[in-house]
């Protein structure tokens, strides 16, 4: 192909950047400033945290299914909180709290967006690295420190934070109220503050990189949807994470320095506290001002990757590229003005409830557009059922089933009776938990060769992983809607105190069995991941026959990504199965894709995207 001939006239000072200086073990694997290594660091840290988070969920699911049963494993893992194999109520709450925190922030924010933003932004826009490799390194190491603190908090004497992942004060502010609000909560807040710093450094870097380092010809409208998603995600992060930081800071002040931002009129443990004039509702506002955009921070990167993977494997352009970009932007904008739907019954003015219902249901429109566009993308495609493609289809499935119940929860009148029940748990696990995890898996299967120098994950293990996971995930969360509609509140250590809920025991058993199966099959994935890292088969340079620039970069990781000059871009990322003018063959004869760095061919009609 003539692409290289065209590209070589670019003057580039970094031509053979990687060959000049030898890297030591420390600069290569630990304090690396290379975006590819940092992305692997993010992924592996994220997976490690994910193992902890999922293991915790299995422990509390066992407690919920068999509350009267004694499990040796509780005693082994929980120590003094699992004496005689009986789980202590305080550790139950600690488990749900840390499970939520870890999964939302450490796995699905850092593990997902951190991994793939780092890996793909430079590679897909045609840059040698992030705008600032140093800040990028700092960002990862702050994330690492915050992970370490979070894990350490599990071992403090009174137990880790246990006021729920939303850490509403006064419960989270007063050690008298719950043991976990002592040192455990202090560590939680410290960990989160560092996490936010890490996330901000990362996000600023992503934004600057996307805006400034795009290769010649890579206009914003030619960006792959992945990069659009990462870019917009980073913007949401920059807008909303600082608000959580201020909330955390104020909570720290309330806890340790006697201020009253969130506390007022409290009588606890036999004495009246001096605090006067604060409001817990203020904390809820601040928390959800981040907390809601956070779920889009989690899901948007997954959406971007799914769009990219679907188009590649369907051998078709993504349907409605502009609409996809527009809906990412619309979702991002709306996501910052819907936080109040978590607070319909918090005591805030009911009029505000109306406003937030309105904005919340609006967000269903861009979401619907995206879903329809994905479905249209696979229509009349030539679907290559690689594991990444399966997970992408699975993503659309759970995004639909989980998203639709949002119509109920977003409606303030309906929220009254399902608020804080298992209906909510089922909803958000499907729509942002499971969906984002599928996005993460899709990304790992698809870009594994890019991360590990051409090695590929085993597809058969991938199929097993996928099918058991999708069946298990629905097996967990479909029945959960029903116990929610039976009025069962979440975060109950056991339901045995209410005979009224006795007939839900069966459902809980089924949910737990599915959860155990689903968690167990993740071991297949872990095995596949670790094994393929070292022994995976090496595939071709562009194994999925994809159009995006990362597949033109060197298979072997070199600093600077491209050995020669950076390729220029002449087209959008989705020229799959595009025919020439007289429709006699593909634009590149015999090849059903035209990568971005290939100039417009003779006999090809230009599309305006």
């Amino acid at each position: 192909m003539s692409a290289h001939a065209h590209a070589t006239d670019a003057v580039d000072h970094h031509d053979d950047h990687g060959h000049h200086h030898k890297e030591t073990f420390v600069t290569k694997y630990i304090f690396s400033q290379d975006h590819k290594m940092i992305s692997k660091q993010y992924l592996i840290t994220g997976l490690f945290m994910g193992i902890i988070g999922i293991a915790m969920s299995i422990l509390f699911r066992m407690q919920l299914a068999w509350p009267d049963h004694q499990f040796t494993i509780f005693e082994v893992l929980l120590g003094k909180w699992g004496e005689d194999g009986i789980m202590d109520p305080s550790v139950y709450l600690a488990l749900v709290t840390i499970h939520g925190t870890i999964m939302v922030f450490f796995v699905l924010t850092a593990g997902l967006s951190g991994t793939f933003s780092n890996l793909l932004i430079p590679l897909q826009i045609g840059a040698r690295d992030m705008a600032s490799g140093f800040l990028n390194m700092i960002s990862y190491w702050l994330f690492f420190i915050s992970s370490v603190i979070m894990v350490l908090s599990l071992f403090v004497e009174a137990g880790p934070a246990s006021a729920g992942w939303t850490v509403y004060p006064p419960l989270s502010a007063l050690p008298q109220a719950i043991p976990g609000s002592g040192a455990g909560m202090t560590l939680w807040l410290a960990s989160m503050a560092i996490f936010i710093a890490s996330s901000l450094l990362g996000s600023l870097n992503y934004i600057v990189t996307v805006l400034n380092l795009r290769t010649k010809g890579m206009s914003m409208t030619r960006l792959p949807l992945t990069v659009w998603a990462f870019f917009v995600t980073a913007i949401i992060g920059v807008v909303s994470f600082p608000v959580l930081f201020s909330a955390a800071l104020m909570l720290i002040m309330d806890r340790s320095f006697g201020t009253s931002f969130f506390l007022s009129d409290i009588y606890i443990a036999g004495e009246v506290l001096h605090n006067q004039g604060g409001s817990p509702v203020l904390f809820e506002h601040l928390f959800w001002f981040l907390g809601h955009p956070e779920v889009y921070i989690v899901i948007l990167p997954a959406m971007g990757m799914v769009s990219e993977i679907m188009a590649t494997n369907a051998r078709k352009p993504i349907f409605g590229y502009r609409a996809m970009v527009a809906s990412i932007l619309a979702i991002a904008f709306l996501s910052t003005i819907v936080w109040g739907h978590h607070m319909f019954i918090s005591g805030m003015n009911p009029f505000l409830g109306s406003v937030f219902t309105f904005t919340t249901l609006l967000i269903a429109i861009p979401s619907a557009v995206k879903s329809f566009n994905w479905i249209t993308t696979i229509w009349r495609g030539n679907l290559q059922m690689n594991p990444a493609m399966l997970f992408s289809i699975g993503f659309v499935s759970t995004f639909i089933t989980g998203g639709l119940t949002g119509i109920i929860l977003g409606d303030s009148a309906l929220d009254i009776n399902v608020h804080d029940t298992y209906f909510v748990v089922a909803h958000f696990h499907l729509v942002m938990g499971i969906s984002a995890l599928y996005g993460l898996f899709a990304g790992v299967y698809h870009w594994f060769p890019k991360m590990f120098e051409g090695r590929m994950l085993n597809k058969n293990l991938g199929y097993v992983h996928f099918w058991v996971t999708v069946i298990g995930a629905y097996g967990v969360f479909f029945p959960m809607h029903f116990i929610g509609m039976a009025g069962l509140p979440r975060r109950y250590y056991t339901n045995t105190e209410f005979p009224y809920f006795d007939d839900l025991t069966d459902v809980n058993v089924v949910i737990t069995i599915f959860a155990i199966i689903t968690a167990a099959v993740q071991i297949v994935f872990l095995y596949n991941f670790i094994h393929s890292m070292f022994h995976g088969k090496k595939g071709p340079k562009n194994p999925w026959k994809s159009n995006t620039l990362e597949w033109t970069a060197e298979v072997k990781h070199i600093h600077g990504n491209w050995d020669g000059p950076i390729p220029h871009v002449y087209r959008w990322a989705y020229d799959y199965s595009k025919l020439n003018k007289d429709e006699s063959d593909y634009v590149i004869p015999g090849q059903d894709y035209a990568p971005q760095h290939i100039p417009l061919q003779e006999n090809e009609e230009e599309m305006h995207h």
Partner: protein
């Protein structure tokens, strides 16, 4: 029942294993096994499995409905509750229709267009008309839902107090509830946690004339057909007063008073006669009897048989005993209510016992 469920899970799991086995078996053929990229065979198998998965999704939902459709809450016992239930039904119907079709399209397309070597995909990048259609349809449908929902919400939340409204304070603390009735004057006495002392558990201002006829109880009684306005307070952390059968919930926030109002329309007695609920209670008692047999075999006390009562639950994580923070609610006729009320001690008498002596 449990045995059946276990069998069901095992069958579903078996199906999954069987499918996995099939994948393994078929993909182990020699020809195309050198690559980790999906072969035609993989496309074919996974295409079929996608179709099967869609059907599995429907089947799972059907099974859930069939097995557990009856665990959901019975018809609402409050006036506004039926509005919520209708809105819920409409939203659910919409969700099922949309979910059914979109999942079908997703599954069927995944199957129908499964890859094959040499097959040509259609280059179909844009279609303004299509996109307009599926933007405008959600806009219209959601506009309808939003308007419907907002009317219902405003109706429920805008409380119009009249003379007949019963004022009740719900007081939450770790880990129990108290209810304070406003008494004959229907005005609650002032209260603040700083006044909590001894028997004055709710911190009511003993010198406030309005407080004298207040009544504090630990079992909530409500007269049927009369609007109740709840004023919620919390003493320590956030709690949430959740009364699922009345479709009512409001957080209790330390430092402020929140409110929620509803009119109970079914007495506890009548509710116990509700077919749906009676069936549920019967099932619960069967389960409890089974469990009791196991307990007795171990030499422990059997479980009490269950009779239905309305309940107030805490639905906001509030500490270690969050799972057992409840209060019984009794809805009864006006006469029964008045008779019960007459038996309760007035707060003035409790807080200022000396004055009784003087009188």
């Amino acid at each position: 029942m449990t045995a059946f469920l276990v069998v069901l899970v095992i069958i579903l799991f078996g199906v999954a294993i069987w499918q996995m086995g099939k994948i393994f078996e078929l993909s182990k053929t020699k020809e195309d096994n050198t690559s980790e990229v999906a072969s035609d065979k993989d496309n074919n198998i996974n295409g079929w499995l996608m179709l099967g998965f869609t059907i599995f999704t429907y089947a799972l939902l059907a099974i859930c409905f069939w097995k557990w459709g009856n665990v959901v809450l019975p018809e609402a016992a409050s006036e506004h509750g039926s509005e919520i239930d209708t809105l819920m039904f409409v939203s659910m119907a919409l969700i099922f229709v949309v979910g059914f079709f979109t999942l079908w399209l997703l599954g069927y397309f995944s199957f129908k267009f499964r890859g094959e070597k040499g097959k040509q995909a259609t280059f179909f990048a844009d279609n303004d008309k299509l996109e307009f259609i599926w933007t405008i349809i959600p806009v219209i449908v959601l506009a309808g839902l939003i308007i419907y929902g907002l009317f219902t919400w405003t109706d429920i939340m805008n409380v119009e107090e009249d003379e007949d409204t019963l004022i009740v304070e719900l007081y939450a603390y770790q880990f129990d509830w108290r209810a304070r009735y406003a008494g004959d004057d229907n005005t609650l006495g002032e209260a603040n946690v700083r006044l909590i002392e001894g028997v004055n558990q709710l911190g009511v201002d003993a010198s406030d004339p309005n407080a004298q006829d207040d009544v504090v109880v630990n079992e909530l009684h409500l007269p049927v057909g009369r609007k109740v306005l709840f004023k919620m307070r919390s003493q320590d952390v956030l709690h949430s007063a959740y009364m699922p059968h009345f479709r009512a919930q409001m957080n209790c926030v330390p430092g402020m008073v929140t409110q929620f109002a509803f009119t109970p329309i079914t007495t506890t007695e009548d509710m116990r006669l509700n077919d749906e609920l009676a069936a549920k209670v019967k099932r619960i008692n069967n389960i409890r009897r089974e469990n009791s047999q196991a307990l007795v075999a171990k030499g422990e006390d059997p479980l009490e048989p269950y009779t239905f009562d309305y309940m107030l639950l805490c639905n906001k994580i509030c500490g270690n005993n969050h799972y057992n923070m409840q209060m019984k609610i009794v809805v009864e006729t006006e006469e029964e209510f008045n008779a019960w009320m007459a038996e309760q001690a007035k707060l003035g008498d409790v807080l200022n016992p000396k004055e009784i002596a003087k009188n």
